[in-house]
Amino acid sequence: MKKLFREFFKGVIKENPTFVLALGLCPTLAVSTSVVNAVGMGAAATFVLMGSNAMVAMIKNNIPAKIRIPCFIVVIATFVTIVEMVLKAYTPGLNRALGIYVPLIAVNCIVLGRAEAYASKNTLMNSLFDGLGMGAGFTLALTLISSIREYFGSGKIFGYALSHKFEPVSIFGMPSGALLVIGILLILFNRLKGRKS
């Protein structure tokens, strides 16, 4: 049990996919404009990560090494398509906001990266928790970035306008602002980890 927790927390801090591994930055730039989008994207990616990690861990012994990548991709794409259909059916608003980035989870490097680097070498339970941890780390990073961007870029938080008025800094709503925020957070993250370049 303790080991499973370790697998989980590793993804949140020590191997955070966004701030440490720097994987999956493209959807991070695109959907972190508002907290609602970020949480939705994070949840969708977490589901795909857990599903594909678990599935890959289960079938890893039956897949020949030479064709493992296409097999992984089919598994991942299946889970992504499930997520897309469910989102369309039950939360059309969120689906429209996330747009093309839902189907693009299929090519998000975190998902294939974890399948290849972790799930194909570890047990089912470990892989499941690794997926959950990575998903949680991704969601956390997205939420952090998007709350900063939403606050400065539109003066709102969670979609609600704040009482005090200031002129929104619209660069934070653009992809260039996302790069800035990620860069500044990376500085802080590395500082906190006590790592000096």
């Binding site: 619209s170 660069i171 260039s176 800035l180 860069g183």
Partner: protein, 319 residues
């Protein structure tokens, strides 16, 4: 001191100029343009300049304190960044705008990269582009020249972009700065006087500014009119921030190429990009974007125009 200047390959020429002396002299050469801005747009312009400079100095001090670097706010470089940024703002902006712009210019444009000499992009232009992307409403509202009731007017270039015709304004008015525009860019006479002073003192060479202006003028002359070779190149040189950009910002020591050959390439690139943005781009003015893009290309230009080290063979196979 190690980080203050990029060291070129030998032979080195030594002289007694320090970095801060150069900075202050460039600052002095900008005084006429600033004075002209205040005369044309009123005391508002002066307030904007002071706030830009103050904010730049405070930010520099704070960032150096935070990073535990030596405090060098009096070396003139932060002063110059703040001043140049203010020159690139419309005179009627709300007063927090120059402060925010200078903060961004120094903090993100300069100190994050490691301070003076380490920055890739011209900090003042980074600040301006940040403001342009963040509060475009204020950055594109200009006050009328010689009219102190804060009447807004469009710049000649904005009129050209909107309606496609060149405003009926004489070359003399443009030369003296009787037009809407940013504080420091309008009075060409004052800018040219400052630039001549710098040439005379030998602080800038002709390579970047002259190639920049000439290539730009040639490009606009060729493609800026109804047919080939019918563009009004003189109008385009006198409007917008071209002179300010070519003589005072593209020539920044840190962010432009080291060799003469590289500087000519740099100037030509700036000229073409500026003309392309003005003629076919989405914005009426392209000087700041052009210079920033060429700043990004500077390391590559430097790499391919490196001087051969005296006494060595041309390396056949560099790793």
């Amino acid at each position: 001191m190690k980080n203050k200047l990029t060291v070129n390959i030998s032979p080195h020429l030594h002289n007694n100029e320090s970095v801060s002396k150069i900075m202050w002299i460039v600052g002095i050469s900008l005084i006429p343009a600033g004075a002209a801005g205040v005369i044309i747009f009123g005391l508002n312009a002066l307030t904007v300049m002071i706030l830009g400079i103050l904010s730049a100095l405070v930010t520099e001090w704070l960032m150096q304190l935070l990073a535990k670097r030596r405090i060098t706010i009096l070396d003139g470089s932060a002063f110059l960044t703040g001043l140049l940024l203010a020159y690139n703002l419309p005179p009627g902006v709300p007063l927090w705008l120059p402060a925010a712009g200078s903060f961004f210019a120094i903090a993100i444009g300069k100190q994050v990269f490691g301070g003076l000499g380490q920055n890739i992009f011209n900090p003042a232009l980074v600040g301006r582009v940040f403001l342009m992307a963040s509060w475009p409403k204020y950055m594109t509202t200009f006050t009328k020249p010689l009219n102190f009731d804060a009447v807004t007017s469009a710049t000649p270039l904005a009129v050209l972009r909107e309606s496609g015709v060149i405003e009926n304004i004489s070359y003399l008015d443009l030369f003296l700065g009787r037009r809407g525009g940013c504080i420091g860019e309008v009075c060409i006479l004052a800018l040219v006087a400052g630039a001549l002073f710098l040439f005379w003192k030998g602080y800038i060479s002709w390579h970047i500014p002259v190639t920049y202006t000439a290539v730009f003028a040639a490009f606009v002359y060729a493609f800026g009119g109804d047919g080939l070779f019918r563009g009004d190149w003189f109008f385009h040189i006198l409007t917008g921030g071209l002179i300010l950009g070519a003589f005072f910002m593209a020539t920044d020591y840190v962010t432009s190429p080291l060799t003469r050959k590289g500087q000519v390439i740099f100037g030509a690139g700036c000229g073409i990009l500026t003309a392309v943005i003005r003629l076919w781009g989405g914005y009426p003015e392209g000087v700041s974007y052009a210079i920033l893009m060429m700043n990004a290309a500077t390391p590559i230009i430097d790499r391919f125009t490196r001087n051969r080290i005296y006494g060595t063979m041309i390396p056949v196979n560099r790793k």
